[in-house]
Symmetry: C2
């Protein structure tokens, strides 16, 4: 086990993300029809965010993934977050990068019931990260953009290094991992992991 | 980064396993026909082991996985090694356990071109482990059954705790992880990870 870096252990709940897409308003209209508004399916832990009822199909050079969930609300830029194993299915190698980067990436075509868009930016496996509330960040002496470690318990106990912290006063503190990271660590949504500075 | 426990770093190559089945001779005959012998497709790193040309379909209460590779040679007991995410697809919760355990597990039906068997033992997600050559184990002071840690490099650097070591004079030293563990750590087959006692 790792040595503890702070006197009182800090535990953070885990949110595990499966593959999903964020769509721009324009791409929502292209895929689902002019004037279409996403339907809120399930609210997510970060305030204002939701899993939409809508799903799309992702088409790559080698394969297809269907029923991929759209997350709302719409964003300025469309972004496709997949698992590394999805990259094999689709025939692309997604970079592991932070949400919001708009540099060029491999291309995927997103298909909806009314149209399709081919997306060559923001196709990624998400860099694991913590959404941290500003107040907690101040208490812990953590700045937006810092890297920390988290450690999990149980049969598949792991220490995840290089977890990037994003700080915002609206955030509910939570570690975001993808399904492969969650399964590799034997984690379920809502499990607690220990933070190490 | 973790503190080093030995003076000279010890690096071990990684072998990443996708879902697969090991079959008993009797089950080979049930699935593929009387007198059937598995065909060697690709030799694996451990001497004598191979990926067979044969594949099977796994059927669970909720779903199906097709083209699941058979590994040879046949073993005394049939064993099904799946990913935790496969468990969701199939509708079962595989225990994370060591290869070779014969206690009861959730059931899956294995279907081949000539027949099917329903397997309620040895259906598992494999406990991550190291195959270690006896000579190297002696040098490192490691006994069969010991637990060690390995640490990976790169964007998804992780420390995997509770890696079980199996020692045999015929083994080629190698860490065995499943696809989800490999992807969570950003690893490819043959990458090197550092061993910590």
């Amino acid at each position: 086990m790792e040595k503890q870096n702070q006197k009182n252990p800090v535990w953070i709940p885990v949110g595990i993300s499966n593959r999903h897409v964020h769509l721009s308003e324009q791409d929502v209209e292209t895929l689902f029809g002019k004037g279409h508004q996403l339907h809120v399916g399930r609210e997510l832990s970060q305030p204002g965010y939701y899993a939409a009822e809508e799903t799309v199909t992702l088409v790559g050079p080698k394969g297809v993934l269907s029923k991929v969930r759209v997350l709302g609300p719409p964003r300025p830029h469309t972004q496709v977050e997949i698992l590394l194993s999805d990259g094999y299915t689709l025939g692309i190698q997604p970079p592991i990068q932070e949400s919001g980067l708009v540099a060029g990436t491999p291309c995927l075509t997103i298909v909806g019931p009314q149209g399709a868009v081919t997306q060559c930016r923001g196709v990624m496996a998400a860099w694991r990260h913590i959404h941290m509330n500003s107040r907690q960040a101040r208490v812990l002496g953590i700045q937006d953009g810092d890297f920390v470690k988290v450690q999990t318990q149980g049969d598949r106990s792991v220490t995840l290094h290089q977890v990037k912290v994003r700080v915002d006063e609206k955030f509910v503190t939570e570690v975001h991992l993808d399904v492969e990271e969650g399964n590799a660590a034997g984690l379920k949504n809502g499990d607690q992991v220990e933070l190490f500075l």
